[in-house]
């Protein structure tokens, strides 16, 4: 929040502190507006996330930052440069992990890294040196001579991450880095990204997984329907838009619909989902006890801490993953 206000104040020194700065950033495809006038700032060294459901405009925003998709309207500055005029210079300092892997299946794991380094104008020796280091880093050193095709989804993802690091980027753009991976593979990716962050690499990522956002992001914006609906650290967002705890009540089929006012006053806020009721309160257990006293008998009860999912539900009235 402070970064935003400082940058918005507009003095040149302050503005240069943010690595990426967007004001009124808009992307239109014909009559369709994919990104509708968003403002955000990414500070050096932070992990910044775009959280939102599919179709919220996250990927379009990332592609504009990655200088592969021209902006339709508004301002965008990346590393102090203008993507309209200095796209190639900006891209030279970015590491991009696209949503879909774009590896060359006809080459070996190591060749994929070598060739990619050559696109950044690195010498062959330098490419070879970096490729070996990066294969080590993403734990693929023993697969260097193998073709890409038979690798598992998690390995391909790690190779894509290694490839994006070949130019030693200042900023990494990760579009849904762990979508489609199994839990173990996800944790391995998160661990590598966390190490990169510790080395001072700025991470910009999109995700529709709240746990990913909570794990990785220092700060994030919640996007919905082409707009930013909230901004802050995961903790700030939860404090601001939700309660500390949530009690989830599941009733036998048909019962929930018959319960009209019985939840009145039980919790700070009640969300009615098709399959369950969410009761938001500082003390979830107290809600459960109070509900029992009123004669409510849910089939299952779960008391948990609020997550970004609850923030999203509050902000948009919808779930993140539908």
């Amino acid at each position: 929040m402070t970064a935003t206000t400082a940058a918005a104040a507009g003095t040149s020194t302050k503005a240069s502190e943010s690595l990426i700065r967007a004001r009124g950033l808009t992307k239109r495809f014909g009559a369709f507006t994919a990104v509708d006038g968003v403002d955000f700032d990414v500070a050096p060294g932070e992990a910044f996330g775009f959280l939102g459901p599919n179709g919220a405009g996250k990927t379009s925003t990332m592609r504009m930052i990655g200088c592969t998709s021209p902006i339709s309207d508004g301002e965008l500055s990346i590393l102090g440069m203008d993507p309209r005029r200095q796209g190639a210079d900006i891209r030279a300092r970015l590491g991009v992990v696209p949503q879909q892997d774009t590896l060359d299946n006809e080459l070996t794991v190591r060749e994929n890294l070598l060739i990619y380094g050559r696109y950044f104008g690195l010498s062959r020796d330098e490419c070879a040196k970096r490729a070996d280091e990066l294969l080590e880093f993403v734990q693929l050193a023993d697969r260097g001579k193998d073709l890409v095709e038979p690798l598992s989804g998690g390995m391909k993802r790690r190779l894509t991450i290694a490839r994006s690091l070949i130019n030693e980027p200042d900023v990494m753009l990760l579009d849904e880095p762990t979508t489609g991976l199994d839990p173990q593979a996800r944790h391995l990716v998160w661990d590598r990204l966390y190490r990169l962050k510790q080395r001072g690499v700025t991470l910009v990522l999109t995700t529709h997984y709240m746990d990913e956002a909570e794990q990785l992001c220092d700060r994030l914006v919640v996007m919905d329907k082409a707009k930013i609906v909230a901004e802050g650290s995961p903790r700030q967002l939860i404090e601001q838009y939700s309660t500390k705890e949530v009690a989830e009540f599941r009733f036998a089929p048909g019962i929930q619909e018959t319960l009209e006012d019985q939840f009145e006053g039980l919790a700070d806020r009640v969300e009615r989902l098709p399959d369950r009721m969410l009761l938001y309160a500082e003390d979830g257990e107290a809600v459960v006890i109070a509900a029992r006293e009123r004669g409510l008998h849910p089939e299952t009860v779960l008391v948990r801490r609020s997550t970004l999912e609850d923030v999203f539900l509050r902000l948009t009235g919808r779930s993140l993953i539908e």
Partner: protein, 253 residues
């Protein structure tokens, strides 16, 4: 720019060397042997003292490169844009859409040079060229191939599936192969069809290659120049279109 293109050759070179080397070599050997049989039976007088093999060889040279160029601008390009999406990975680096388009065209030209040179060696081995100017016929045939590759690449970049390639080959490439003076002089066509040959890029290429290889280029140098300029124009316009469509496609994601 130049370095980027050079790097792209390298990438594609490695990727496709094995797959694409063998096929033209086989094709050439089969055609060359098959043609040997014709030579014996051809009557000298029909083609003004030129054997049929000598007549046919330049036509095959140019049309073979047309086919290779057309193929290379269709499936492999769609692959990079749509299937493996490696071209999308390239534009996340300092490369731009135009580098991808021109780099691929440069690669196709290089591959055509390779295929054309092998073809030329086979032609010479069969004694099917009457002039050392075959050395110039090869670049003309390469130019012919590029004149097909560039516009086809522009078309490919507008496609998401390969469905329409079959139509391009069936109704575009194959008729041109048959009716552009490859197998018989266009003078053998009904007179109303002869001007149509001017619309065929392949005929321009075949005519120049034949004049060079038969050693008759001196008879009509101006006509040869016009042919070459037409091919250069088609290749250039095609390249501009390809830059535009490839760029637009990569921007769309």
């Amino acid at each position: 720019m130049v370095e980027h293109r050079a790097l792209q050759y390298r990438r594609t070179f490695r990727a496709s060397l094995f797959g694409s080397f063998g096929i033209p070599a086989l094709f050439l050997t089969a055609m060359g042997l098959g043609l040997g049989g014709y030579v014996d039976r051809s009557a000298d007088a029909v083609l003004n003292g030129v054997t049929y093999l000598q007549f046919l060889a330049p036509g095959l040279l140019a049309s073979s490169l047309m086919q290779t160029g057309s193929f290379e601008a269709s499936f492999p390009i769609l692959g990079g844009l749509q299937w493996s999406k490696i071209f999308h990975a390239m534009v996340a680096t300092p490369l731009r859409g135009r580098d991808v388009a021109l780099g691929n065209l440069a690669w196709i030209a290089l591959r055509l040079t390779l295929v054309g040179t092998i073809f030329g060696i086979v032609i010479v081995a069969f004694g099917a060229s009457r002039s050392p100017l075959i050395v110039l016929a090869i670049p003309v045939a390469v130019l012919t191939g590029v004149a097909f590759a560039a516009p086809i690449m522009a078309f490919t970049a507008t496609q998401r599936r390969p469905d329409r390639f079959a139509a391009v080959f069936r109704f575009g490439i194959t008729p041109l192969f048959l009716f552009s003076g490859t197998f018989f002089p266009i003078e053998s066509l009904p007179s109303f069809l002869q001007p149509v040959a001017w619309l065929s890029p392949l005929w321009h290429g075949v005519d120049v290659c034949r004049a060079l290889m038969l050693g008759t280029i001196g008879d009509a140098p101006l006509l040869a120049l016009v042919h070459v300029l037409i091919l250069v124009a088609i290749a250039t316009i095609g390249a501009f279109l390809a830059i535009r469509t490839v760029d637009a496609r990569l921007e769309k994601g």
